[in-house]
């Protein structure tokens, strides 16, 4: 095999730890258009669908039967199915076609037709369609909150920080399922501690999940999984009817539910029937629609690496998100499981949901470090939060998150940990120590937490359930121990169960007990100037990342700290001494500014230059140029004054040139444009070289490093220092003779 070091290096890159395969349609390892996918078609007789996608009613499988009966509007079907797929695809992208009209047309389409329509779109068109078709106008986000030690103080602190950061829903789960009530309790308290409010859920087995919700320890559920073939559905131990009934059961207790689906699950379970992932996912989504769910989390979810191994996999995942929106379902759009080893690939994939916006961009952003994520990853985690905030700020896109400073985070973390400590105490649960509270405030991950007595915790859970402890006990405990504000907010969320307001599509809870959903915040996108816009407050919020500096404060010289060391004597005249090398300073050098870009004090820089000149037996003479702040012109002006004709021009930020009287202003003997690469030793060598040029000796140019990151790192400071120098320019002021100590 040919040997190439470049190929070797690329082979080591993160992207090449991902798996890639060719399509294999017979096993369902194909995104769109498997040869086994049916052609679209429908027959309606007397308001009843009697054939669909090439199958007569007598041959319907379980999903066909459910979809034909409950998901397709027979009154629209014949009209909609007659439309050309390309024409429908254009309707989705065309903002002159109202969202409601697109929804109406799609309500009459079969699964095969929907797939055919969406396959007409490229990813940009899909994003445009998603921007128009998502249900809620304001995008939001969901966070995962778990930790390996199931530490309640850390769970509460992480929940509180996640809500402070703007997440609208929190999902926890358990390593040991018996911990579920305590984990649910901890995030319930944390979720209402900060300035926000969030709905909470605990992903556990179905009946335990229902029980936690009945007890008021959780407020929504997301675990109702659906599959696109009959056999996969059966392996999931459900039917569309059992899931539909379960959805009603949750709603009967006033609990919000969304279903879960995602491409790839059928192939993974070995039951794809040779159908494409997107065709099967569309069947899932239509079953979900037929079951009367307000929404779904999809986007391949935990199977994500499987579609991503195939051509068009990431596009397919966006397509399934879009189809959920076309079916008018709340969309929590995945991005929750590890999708790649490559940061480039992960971030690129995210853009497909982040840019158009979805009801929940992540159906689980890992609010803690990945190692503590019990959902198996988290495509983005706590350590990526600054990146995420910058992406929002860069593109002025609302990703549902806000920047939070370290002190703000510590404050809500401490309060949440104290609150859960008090509730544990009040309810007779094993104590949470003050040390545990403080550890939870500062912890990076559960490894920083003291170990708890797990035997005691688990015994306490059993007692907790036996006594029938519930949300009201938590509210009372909080109020008794000085956390009435948290108690009020938890009660406000519980009140939602009486109004049922958050059972409507795409509902999120607001801190004042109100609800924002697709009903009172419907997506009204109809082209530029419509739809969701960042409010001035939200714009300010996402712009104000804590690491953003005040530009006016950069490079300010604290005048009180040092006495002036440069003294201007008089107007400078042309010199006559042929051993004289002029050092021409920029107008802010040693006065308005005190140090170079790299932070070298001007005084030391000047000493290095003069030292270098003297070492060659020449005489330095220092002048200050006021007419310009440009390095070439400063050097040029200096050269006109120099007895030897050679000068060194230096800007305050440290950029330096060696000039000679006979050269054009922007020409030079040597130029050192990258000030960050210049050390005091470099300045000394520059001084020596200038002297050698004047003596007519051969000169070895000053060695300079190439640092391609220097511009990236210093461009802001460069701009501001240059701005300050330019402020000192006095066009008509002659160069000044300078003395320095």
């Amino acid at each position: 095999m040919e040997h190439s070091k470049r190929f070797e290096r690329r082979a080591e890159r993160a992207i090449n730890r991902d798996s890639f395969i060719r399509e294999w349609p017979e096993t369902g390892l194909v995104i769109f258009n498997s040869p086994s996918d049916p052609d679209p078609g429908i027959r309606v007789n007397g308001g009843r669908i009697t054939a669909m996608d090439g199958r007569p009613e007598a041959e319907f499988d379980m999903l066909d039967r459910f979809i034909a009966r409950r998901a397709i509007d027979p009154a629209v079907a014949e009209e909609a199915m007659r439309l050309d797929s390309l024409a429908i695809a254009r309707m989705l992208v065309d903002f002159h076609v109202p969202r409601a009209e697109a929804i109406r047309v799609v309500s009459g389409l079969t699964p095969a037709k929907i797939v055919q329509v969406v396959d007409k779109l490229n990813v940009v068109e899909m994003m445009m369609a998603l921007q128009k078709m998502r249900a809620r106008r304001t995008p939001s986000n969901q966070a995962h909150v778990t930790n390996k030690k199931e530490n309640p103080a850390l769970l509460a602190a992480d929940a509180a920080e996640a809500v402070e950061r703007g997440f609208s829903e929190l999902e926890t789960t358990v390593g040991i399922s018996r911990y579920a009530p305590l984990n649910a309790l901890a995030i319930l308290i944390g979720s209402q501690t900060g300035r926000g409010s969030a709905l909470t859920q605990c992903a556990v087995e179905e009946s335990l999940g229902l029980r936690l919700a009945f007890l008021g320890l959780t407020t929504y559920a997301e675990t109702l999984s659906v599959y696109g073939t009959e056999q996969a559905f059966r392996d999931g131990d459900d039917t569309p009817w059992s899931k539909a009934f379960l959805a009603s059961a949750y709603a009967s207790r006033g609990i919000k539910v969304r279903f879960t689906s995602g491409s790839g699950s059928e192939a993974l379970m070995g039951h794809s029937e040779g159908k494409s992932m997107l065709y099967l996912e569309t069947r899932c989504l239509m079953a979900i629609k037929g079951a009367g769910s307000q929404g779904v989390q999809n986007g391949s979810i935990s199977c994500i690496a499987l579609p991503e191994s195939l051509p068009g996999g990431v596009r397919g995942v966006l397509a399934e998100n879009l189809i959920a929106a076309l079916l008018d379902l709340e969309l929590a759009s995945g991005n929750d499981a590890m999708a790649s080893h490559s940061d480039i690939r992960k971030a690129s994939k995210l853009m497909l949901q982040f840019l158009p916006g979805t009801d929940f961009i992540f159906s689980g952003y890992s609010s803690m470090p990945r190692e503590d994520n019990l959902f198996g990853g988290g495509n983005f985690d706590a350590e990526d939060l600054d990146d995420y905030n910058v992406l929002q700020r860069d593109m002025l896109v609302d990703g549902g998150v806000r920047p939070v400073s370290a002190p703000e985070a510590a404050a809500v973390r401490r309060r949440a940990a104290h609150a859960v400590q008090a509730v544990f105490d009040e309810l007779g649960l094993p104590p949470i120590s003050d040390a545990e509270v403080e550890a939870a405030v500062a912890a990076r991950a559960s490894g920083d937490m003291p170990d708890r007595d797990m035997v005691a915790d688990l015994a306490a859970v059993e007692e907790f359930l036996r006594l029938g402890r519930n949300g009201l006990d938590v509210i009372r405990a909080l109020a008794r121990r000085g956390f009435a504000d948290i108690a009020e907010k938890i009660l406000a969320v519980q009140r939602l169960r009486i109004s049922g307001d958050y059972l409507q599509t795409s509902a999120v809870a607001l801190p004042n007990g109100q609800v924002r959903s697709a009903v009172n915040d419907p997506n009204d996108y109809a082209g530029p100037g419509t739809g969701y816009h960042l409010s001035p407050e939200r714009l300010a919020e996402i712009s104000a990342i804590p690491q953003a500096l005040e530009p006016a404060e950069i490079g300010i010289v604290d005048g009180s700290a040092s006495r002036p060391w440069l003294r201007e004597c008089h107007d400078a005249c042309p010199g006559t001494d042929s051993s004289e090398i002029v050092i021409a300073l920029g107008p802010a050098f040693g006065s308005a500014l005190g140090a170079t870009l790299l932070g070298l004090p001007h005084r030391d820089v000047l000493a290095a230059l003069t030292g270098g000149i003297r070492a060659e037996g020449m005489r330095p003479r220092v002048v200050k140029i006021y007419a310009t702040s440009d390095c070439g012109f400063i050097g040029h002006a200096g050269a006109q004054l120099s007895g030897s004709g050679v000068s060194i021009g230096i800007q305050s930020k440290g950029t330096t040139v060696i000039h000679r009287r006979d050269l054009q202003p922007l020409d030079n003997l040597e130029l050192f444009p990258q000030a960050p690469n210049l050390t005091l030793e470099s300045y000394r060598v520059i001084g020596r070289n200038a002297a050698k040029y004047a003596k007519g000796e051969p000169v070895l140019p000053v060695p300079t490093q190439i640092d391609n990151m220097a511009r990236l790192k210093y461009i802001v400071k460069t701009t501001i220092l240059h701005l300050r120098e330019t402020e000192q320019v006095r066009k008509d002021k002659p160069a000044q003779e300078v003395q320095f100590a």
Binding site: R70, A71, D73, I103, R104, S207, L210, F214, L215, G216, R234, D237, D238, T239, W241, S242, A244, F245, A247, S248, A249, A251, S252, R253, G254, K289, G290, A291, G292, S293, Q294, D328, N470, G471, L472, I475, R476, A479, A484, E488, L491, Q494, R495, L496, R497, I498, S499, G500, D501, L503, Q504, T505, G513, Q514, V515, S517, A518, V519, N520, P522
Partner: protein, 122 residues
């Protein structure tokens, strides 16, 4: 159509299953022991209002789900889990499902749930 959100625009139409008005669900009432967890549940009336909201918003399936839910408000949890279980694959014969549907209809007037169960039976 009822004005949504109900909690904001029509709180007077909301109450707990035990008849406590929405406005009286306060921290003070919780502390005084006037509320139990059983009170913090949606009523069939509120679910019907929400079904109307969903229907008006063009979401007939969601409305249907909320109306099925309204039928289940007074059905005990154990009974709900029993029906759920019977609907899972391979659990119940069509005859058993037919009997369950009939019972839901007779005991709770749950005609929509009964229709769902019958449809599942094939």
């Amino acid at each position: 159509m009822p004005e949504y959100p109900l909690s904001q625009h029509a709180p007077d139409r909301l109450k707990t299953p035990s008849g406590i008005p929405f406005s009286e669900i306060t921290l003070e009432a919780v502390m005084a022991g006037r509320l139990s967890m059983e009170d913090l549940r949606v009523t069939a009336e509120a679910l019907e209002l929400q079904a109307q909201v969903a229907s008006e918003a063009g979401r007939p399936q969601l409305a249907e789900n909320l109306r099925r839910a309204a039928e289940l408000v007074d059905v005990p949890s154990e009974r709900i889990l029993e029906v759920y279980d019977a609907l899972r694959p391979g659990r119940a014969t069509p005859e058993k499902l037919a009997r369950l549907a009939e019972a839901m209809e007779r005991e709770y007037g749950a005609v929509r749930c009964a229709a769902l169960i019958r449809e599942a039976a094939g």
